[in-house]
C-alpha cells in the first residue's frame, strides 16, 4: 500500500479511541509519507474529526499509538505535539473572532521562539494570501467566510508544521472558494508540507490527494491511490455518486 520505502511522517498504528463508553475509532491504521497529500473520507459521525483530535493528543487513544517521524507522540499533551510539528485547520475555521487577524496568526506561532523564522513565515502567509495582509488589523469576526478560511490556514502555517491537518476545508464555503482552497492546499504541499485532509467532499479531496482512506463508523474500510479510489465501483456507489 505504501508509495515509498521511507518511514512515514505520521503514522497511526491500530488506534482505538473512546468517548466514555462509546467507541469512536476502531483499530485505525494510517500511514502518511513525506510530501504527500492524503485524505480521509467518510460521512457524518464516522470519526474523522476524532482521528485528527487523537493525532493532536487532544483525545487520548484507548489503545494503539500515533507516531511522528518514527517517534511515539500519543500520550503527549497537545502543546508538545504542536511544538513537534503538527498543526490543524479546524472544521468551520474556528478563528478567535474577537481578536485581530494579526493576533490570530500570532496564536498560531504561540509555541515558537525562533523570532526571525516567524517573521519569514508571516511573509510566506502574506504571499500565499495577500488578502490576509490587507485585513491584518481587522477583527477576525468581521471577515468573509473565504477570508476567514485563509486566516485559519495562515494560523496553522504559522506553527511551521511538518504535517498540516485540515478538517473539512470545503465545509460552508461557496464552490468557487472550495476550488481556491484546494488549489492552496496543493500550493502548500508543493512548498514541502505534508497534508492530511479530512473531507466529506470525496471528489474534491481525491482530485488533489495522492492517496485516500475511507472511514466508516470508526473503521478504515478502504484505502488506495486516489485514481484507484475514484474508479472503485464500491466507492462510486457509496460516496462519489452522492456528490454532484
Amino acid at each position: 500500500m505504501s508509495t515509498t520505502d521511507a518511514t512515514p511522517v505520521l503514522e497511526l498504528r491500530s488506534v482505538s479511541t473512546h468517548y466514555g463508553p462509546i467507541q469512536v475509532l476502531r483499530d485505525v491504521d494510517v500511514a502518511i509519507y513525506p510530501g504527500e497529500i492524503v485524505c480521509l473520507l467518510g460521512g457524518n459521525a464516522s470519526g474523522k474529526t476524532t482521528t485528527l483530535k487523537t493525532i493532536l493528543g487532544y483525545v487520548k487513544p484507548s489503545s494503539g499509538s500515533v507516531h511522528l517521524e518514527g517517534q511515539r507522540i500519543s500520550g503527549l499533551p497537545t502543546t508538545e505535539v504542536v511544538e513537534r510539528g503538527i498543526s490543524m485547520v479546524p472544521e468551520n475555521r474556528r478563528l478567535f473572532k474577537r481578536m485581530t487577524v494579526r493576533e490570530n496568526l500570532e496564536i498560531g506561532a504561540y509555541l515558537r521562539s525562533d523570532r526571525d523564522a516567524v517573521e519569514d513565515d508571516y511573509e510566506r502567509v502574506f504571499e500565499l494570501f495577500p488578502r490576509v495582509k490587507e485585513r491584518l488589523h481587522q477583527r477576525a469576526g468581521t471577515l468573509s467566510g473565504g477570508e476567514q478560511q485563509m486566516v485559519a490556514v495562515g494560523r496553522a502555517l504559522m506553527a511551521r508544521p511538518s504535517v498540516l491537518l485540515m478538517d473539512e476545508p470545503s465545509m460552508g464555503l461557496a464552490p468557487v472558494l472550495v476550488q481556491q482552497n484546494f488549489d492552496i492546499i496543493q500550493q502548500i504541499n508543493q512548498a514541502g508540507t505534508t497534508v492530511f485532509v479530512v473531507e466529506q467532499n470525496a471528489n474534491m479531496a481525491l482530485s488533489i490527494a495522492d492517496r485516500g482512506y475511507v472511514l466508516q463508523t470508526g473503521r478504515i474500510v478502504l484505502s488506495d491511490h486516489s485514481d484507484a479510489l475514484l474508479s472503485n465501483p464500491e466507492m462510486q456507489r457509496a460516496y462519489l455518486g452522492q456528490i454532484d
Binding site: K53, T78, T79, E83, S87, P90, R94, R98, M99, A159
Partner: protein
C-alpha cells in the same frame, strides 16, 4: 433562550406586558432620581467642596472595588463561573499584609523607610492573594472542570466559608488595625481642590495596576493566550495553548489584583478581620456585573461607578427625597444602582457580547 425571544420581540416592536412593566419601572426610576437630584442640589445642604470630597472618596472606594472586580471578571471570562471565594482572596491579602506592616512598624522601619516598607507590604499582599487564588483553583476548581456550571459555583461559596473560618481560626476573630502611614496623612492640593493623600494613592495605584493589566492582556503572548482560551477553549488547546496553565495565570492575575486591593484597603481603611472580604467581595461582584461581566474594561468602569453611586447617591438622591438617615443607606443605593443599570442595560454598562455568546 430567553434572550433570543427578547430580541425577537424587540424586532417585531410589539409591547408585551413584561416590556410595558419594565418601561414603567424605567420611567418611575428616572423621575424619582431626577426629583431627588434637583431637591438635593437646590437645597444647598452640601457645599461644592463637600460634593467634590464625596466624589473623590467614591472614586477611591470604587477603584478598590474595580481591582477586586477584575478577579471576578477574568475568571468568569475564561471559565464562565463566578468565583464567590474571591472576596476572601482579597481579605487574605489585607490580613497577611497587616502582619507584615505591623512587624515593620514594630521594628521602626515603617516610619523610617516608609516607601520601602510600603513596597515590601505591597509585595507581601500580592504574593499572599496570588497564592491563595492559585491554590483555590488547583484544589477546589480544577477537579470540577467539566462538571455542570452550578457545581463550581456552589463550591466557591463553600471555599469562601472555608477561607473565612480558616483565617478566623488562625488569627482570631478580633479586628486588627494597620499602622498609619505618616507621609500619607493630610492632603494634597491638586488643580485647586483638596484631596486626601491616602485616597490619591489609592486612585493612582489602582489606575496604574489597571493600565498594567490592560497592557498584559492586550500586548503580551500570555495575555493573548488568555483571550484565546476565554473565547474558545477547545480551539485554543488545538493550537497548542496549555489551557490549564493559562487558567492558573488567570487566577494568579486576578489574585494579584485582589492583593493590590487588599493593600490599598489597609492604607485607606486600616481595619481588617476575617469577615472583611465579604461586603467588598459582593460589591466587587456587583461592580463586575454592572460593568458587564467578562469584560475587563467593564470591571474597571463598573467598580468606579459603583463607588461613586454609593458615596454620592445617598446625599444626591435619597436626601432630596426626604429619606431619614440617608447616610446609613449607601449599600441600599449600591445595590439599587445595580438593579437599575440591569433594567436599563441587561448586559451591563460595557457588556455587549453575552447574549451572542450564549446563542
Amino acid at each position: 433562550m430567553a434572550q433570543a425571544t427578547t430580541t425577537a420581540r424587540r424586532r417585531t416592536r410589539r409591547l408585551n406586558p413584561i416590556d410595558a412593566f419594565l418601561w414603567l419601572i424605567r420611567i418611575v426610576a428616572v423621575v424619582v432620581i431626577l426629583v431627588g437630584l434637583t431637591n438635593s442640589l437646590t437645597s444647598g445642604r452640601l457645599s461644592a467642596q463637600q460634593w467634590r470630597d464625596l466624589m473623590v472618596f467614591g472614586v477611591s472606594q470604587g477603584s478598590v472595588y474595580a481591582l477586586i472586580a477584575l478577579g471576578y471578571t477574568l475568571v468568569y471570562g475564561v471559565l464562565k463561573f463566578i468565583n464567590f471565594a474571591h472576596g476572601e482572596v482579597f481579605m487574605s491579602s489585607t490580613m497577611i499584609g497587616f502582619f507584615a506592616a505591623d512587624a515593620l512598624a514594630r521594628s521602626g522601619m515603617w516610619n523610617d523607610q516608609p516607601i520601602v516598607s510600603l513596597f515590601i507590604v505591597l509585595i507581601v499582599c500580592m504574593l499572599t492573594s496570588t497564592l491563595v487564588a492559585i491554590t483555590l483553583e488547583r484544589v477546589a476548581y480544577r477537579p470540577l472542570r467539566g462538571s455542570p456550571r452550578l457545581v463550581p459555583l456552589i463550591t466557591s461559596i463553600g471555599a469562601s466559608f472555608f477561607l473565612q473560618y480558616t483565617f478566623a481560626g488562625l488569627f482570631g476573630v478580633g479586628t486588627r488595625s494597620w499602622p498609619q502611614v505618616e507621609i500619607l496623612q493630610g492632603s494634597w492640593q491638586f488643580l485647586g481642590f483638596r484631596i486626601v493623600r491616602t485616597q490619591a494613592v489609592v486612585i493612582l495605584a489602582a489606575l496604574a495596576m489597571m493600565a498594567l493589566l490592560y497592557v498584559f492582556v492586550e500586548r503580551t503572548r500570555t495575555g493573548r493566550a488568555m483571550r484565546a482560551v476565554a473565547e474558545d477553549q477547545e480551539t485554543a488547546a488545538l493550537m497548542g495553548i496549555d489551557v490549564n496553565r493559562t487558567i492558573v495565570v488567570v487566577f494568579g492575575v486576578g489574585g494579584a489584583m485582589a492583593g493590590v486591593a487588599g493593600f490599598l484597603w489597609g492604607l485607606a481603611f486600616q481595619t481588617v478581620f476575617f469577615f472583611t472580604g465579604f461586603l467588598p467581595g459582593i460589591k466587587a461582584f456587583t461592580a463586575a456585573v454592572l460593568g458587564g461581566i467578562g469584560n475587563i474594561a467593564g470591571a474597571m468602569v463598573g467598580g468606579i461607578s459603583l463607588g461613586i453611586f454609593e458615596q454620592v447617591g445617598p446625599s444626591a438622591v435619597l436626601a432630596g427625597l426626604g429619606v431619614e438617615g440617608f447616610n446609613q443607606l449607601k449599600d441600599v443605593v449600591a445595590f439599587t444602582a445595580l438593579v437599575l443599570v440591569l433594567i436599563f442595560r441587561p448586559s451591563g454598562i460595557l457588556g455587549e457580547r453575552l447574549s451572542e455568546e450564549r446563542a
